[in-house]
Amino acid sequence: MLILKDVVKTFKGFTLRVDYLEIPDGRYVVVLGPSGSGKTTLLRLIAGLERPDGGSVVLDGRDVTNLPVWERDVGIVFQSYALYPHLTVFDNIAMPLKNKRLPKPEIRRRVEEIAVVLNIADQLHKYPHQLSGGQQQRVAIARALVKEPKVLLLDEPLSNLDARLRLEVRGFLKELQRRLHATVLHVTHDQEEAMALGDLLVVINNGRIEQVGPPDELYARPKSLFVFQFLGLSNLVPAKLVGLGEGLVGFRPEDVALGEGDHRAKVLREEYLGPYKLYELDFNGVRIKARAPPTAAFREGDVVQFSIDVKKALRF
């Protein structure tokens, strides 16, 4: 188990503060936040690439706060893969083991083993520039996993791949994690990717952790406006408009039923998205989104009646 306690890191005009964060073993944990939120800094603090100004990082009961990177039992996969261009795939993967002074036959055995797991066993003699982007990433993952780390850190692992490959690698990563029962910490700014992959989500904003929990919990019961708006599509209207008193009320497009109800809005725009349609409406001067079946036939300019599922509405 990885625990961060009272960790503080200050850069020019930016502070990351983590009062308490627990990463349980064997889970796929995704750290999600917009750019500049401090999510990469969090990963680098765990990796040991940055030292915190205060607080401690504890891995399986061992305080690793001031240990060098290579003594921490963490594997890191860099966004750009960061393979050694002058070494073969085999030597790239073998590098961490060589520096642990393991005997040669054991190095060979472990490299070949992990290469099979990552499906690159036939690439071991090649150089990184001879591989495709996806293969390079597998080499980077193999290099991180070969030392059997307690935590695998993935820094935006899907951002360098094209859209089609991204879905494929997404599935591969999750299956790999399940197969090895590894503890994975995956950093991303893509909320869809985060919800698809994470057993546990850590949403971070402005250097503070907003909420930690399983994706469905964060989606249905966000503790803050930020989490509500960052995960999925959202509507936010003054509570008075829907007769719920003071303040603001938030609800998801799928909680809006078009066709009948107490409220009226004008259709501004229709988006056909295959399995469903998304409507943009003018509701007393506030723009809201509503989801409807693909067969819905409202026209731009129509005034439609609608209702909101009040049980699922959130107050802010």
Partner: protein
């Protein structure tokens, strides 16, 4: 070519380069098969000149031995010193690069002269070195002094190239190395050195070229100790040329060109190659980072190496004439005395004027022609890779190659010993370099700017003049710096094409065209014995390039990647 105007813009530079390089290189090869008789006629001797060099010339072994020493020792020492300096720069920040680069901006004659004055065992620091037993032989007559001056001159280039190689290592790879247990010296061997190996090889070849073609330190040294002690192929071929033995000189130059071409090809290969040397990750090496103090010490030593001869030169130039030669030599002047400067400016005025004229004219010509050609080469792909390769080749060939055929041309045009001889020949030194700098500069130039100008109804010529040129100022500033530097410090062309100082009695004829680099050589001879004057001349000669350097510092740092 879709557009004639593209070719038209590049044409002046290309016609000039082909006419003044291809013809002399070919003619030189032809001349090497002839011998000039006492009557001045050329007699066919076949390979006689070559056989003479390798079999009969009593100086042959000495010349060849010295040449090999200069071209092996210079790069070996420069690169060995440059690696720790580049590491210190990476750790402590690129702002230290500018002072370390100073030797590359001092005229080569001045650099050589400063070292010879300082090491002199009679009136220089050499006296104390000899007395303390740190130096066994007289440094003035030692070939190692030539190597020392070459290392001083070429070290900045080696540092710059290797430093840029170290900086090009991605940050993520360095961090991945940390994760894999590589740090400190162990990481240096396993990651830094292999990944910077193409740049280290490039630095080796560039400094080897400096050592192979070295001329100025031998010119200055020979003025002090006499001929046939320090000579290499380059200097010896110049001596043969000035003795009128054009055929033999041409043969020596052909030998040099052949070796130089080999080095240039190796340079081009190293420049474009992306293959790395592989080194084992030595697990016994320590992982502790070298302490910062060590890096500071390396930097301090290099700064001392850079500024010691210049400091000595400055002190010497300010001494009253009576204190220049005394035993033991004084280090500090008893009072600041400007007599040396009065003497330097008095006797040196015609030389300085001529150097200023030719440097100004040639810099302007080079910048303009180079920009016109480089833009079309880069943006419109004019000439393709072959033309770029030829430009690179010219950059790494010595100007010596051209002197014999061009001497005959200049004499035929009746402009020998005039400013016009220099104006005609100087761009050979500076144009390839200018084109290369601007060619790289234009790689990041947005060609749509020109296309927008064309869409607005301008012709290509007008678009170039009104849009491209104004946007090229920083690149042209740097190209101009190097053009000025080469023109200002030139020695071989003025030695070959001039023989009297600028005639101030009839200034508008611009005849008599010796430059200050020749003046320094004349003052260095033991006959002139004017060491205070020469020191002052040296200081004066270093000022214009250093002013120019400070002026375009920002743009240079952009190109160096230091800022």
């Amino acid at each position: 070519m879709r557009d004639k105007q593209i070719l038209f813009l590049a044409l002046p530079a290309l016609i000039y380069l082909f006419a003044l390089t291809v013809y002399p290189i070919a003619d030189n090869a032809l001349l090497s098969l002839y011998e000039r008789t006492y009557e001045g006629a050329f007699k066919w001797v076949g390979l006689g000149n070559y056989l003479w060099l390798f079999q009969k010339d009593p100086y042959g072994p000495l010349i060849i031995g010295n040449t090999i020493l200069y071209s092996v020792a210079t790069p070996a020492i420069s690169v060995a010193l440059a690696v720790p300096i580049a590491l210190a720069l990476r750790r402590l920040g690129g702002r230290w690069l500018l002072p370390l680069m100073v030797p590359a901006f001092i005229p080569p004659v001045t650099a050589a002269m400063a070292w010879y004055l300082m090491l002199n065992p009679l009136y220089g620091l050499g006296y104390y070195l000899m007395k303390a037993g740190l130096m066994g032989t007289n440094p003035i007559s030692s070939v190692w002094t030539v190597v020392l001056v070459d290392v001083w001159r070429s070290l900045p280039t080696a540092v710059l190239v290797i430093y840029s190689g170290l900086r090009a290592i991605p940050k993520a790879v360095e961090e991945a190395a940390l994760a894999d247990g590589l740090a400190g010296p162990r990481k240096f061997i396993a990651v830094d050195l292999p990944l910077a190996s193409p740049q280290i090889l490039t630095a080796f070849i560039l400094t080897a070229l400096t050592g192979f073609f070295t001329f100025d330190p031998i010119y200055i040294g020979t003025a002090q100790v006499g001929p046939r002690i320090l000579d290499n192929l380059a200097y010896y071929s110049y001596e043969a040329f000035s003795a009128g033995e054009f055929g033999y000189s041409a043969a020596l130059i052909v030998v040099m060109t052949a070796i130089g071409t080999g080095l240039s090809l190796a340079y081009m290969k190293a420049f474009s190659a992306r293959s790395f040397v592989k080194l084992p990750a030595p697990v016994w090496m320590p992982r502790r980072e070298a302490p910062k103090a060590l890096h500071y010490a390396v930097l301090a030593l290099d700064l001392a190496f850079v500024f010691l001869p210049l400091g000595w030169l400055l002190l010497m130039s300010l001494k009253p004439p009576g204190e220049i030669i005394q035993i033991p030599p004084s280090v500090l002047p008893s009072r600041l005395d400007l007599t040396n400067y009065v003497q330097a400016l008095g006797g040196g005025l015609p030389y300085f004027l001529m150097s200023i004229y030719i440097s100004a004219i040639n810099s302007a010509v080079t910048i303009l022609l180079a920009a016109m050609a480089a833009y079309q080469m880069r943006v419109h792909g004019l000439g393709g890779g072959k033309l770029v390769a030829y430009i690179l080749y010219l950059m790494s060939t010595p100007t010596l190659v051209y002197i014999v055929p061009l001497y005959l041309v200049v004499r035929g045009l009746n402009i020998l010993n005039t400013l016009w001889a220099l104006v005609l020949t100087y761009p050979i030194m500076t144009l390839p370099y200018g084109i290369w700098i601007l060619y790289n500069y234009y790689s990041s130039f947005d060609r749509r700017t020109e296309e927008a100008a064309l869409a607005d109804g301008m012709s290509r010529l007008k678009a170039f003049a009104k849009v491209v040129i104004p946007l090229s100022r920083s690149g042209m500033g740097v190209a101009g710096l190097y053009a000025f530097l080469f023109s200002w410090g030139a020695l071989i062309f003025p030695l070959a094409f001039t023989y009297t100082p600028y005639n101030l009695a009839d200034p508008l004829r611009f005849s008599g065209a010796q430059t200050f680099s020749i003046y320094i050589g004349e003052l260095m001879s033991p006959v002139a014995m004017s060491y205070g004057g020469v020191a002052a001349t040296g200081i004066l000669s270093a000022i214009p390039p250093l002013i120019y350097l400070t002026a375009v510092r920002r743009n240079l740092e952009k190109i160096w990647g230091a800022g």
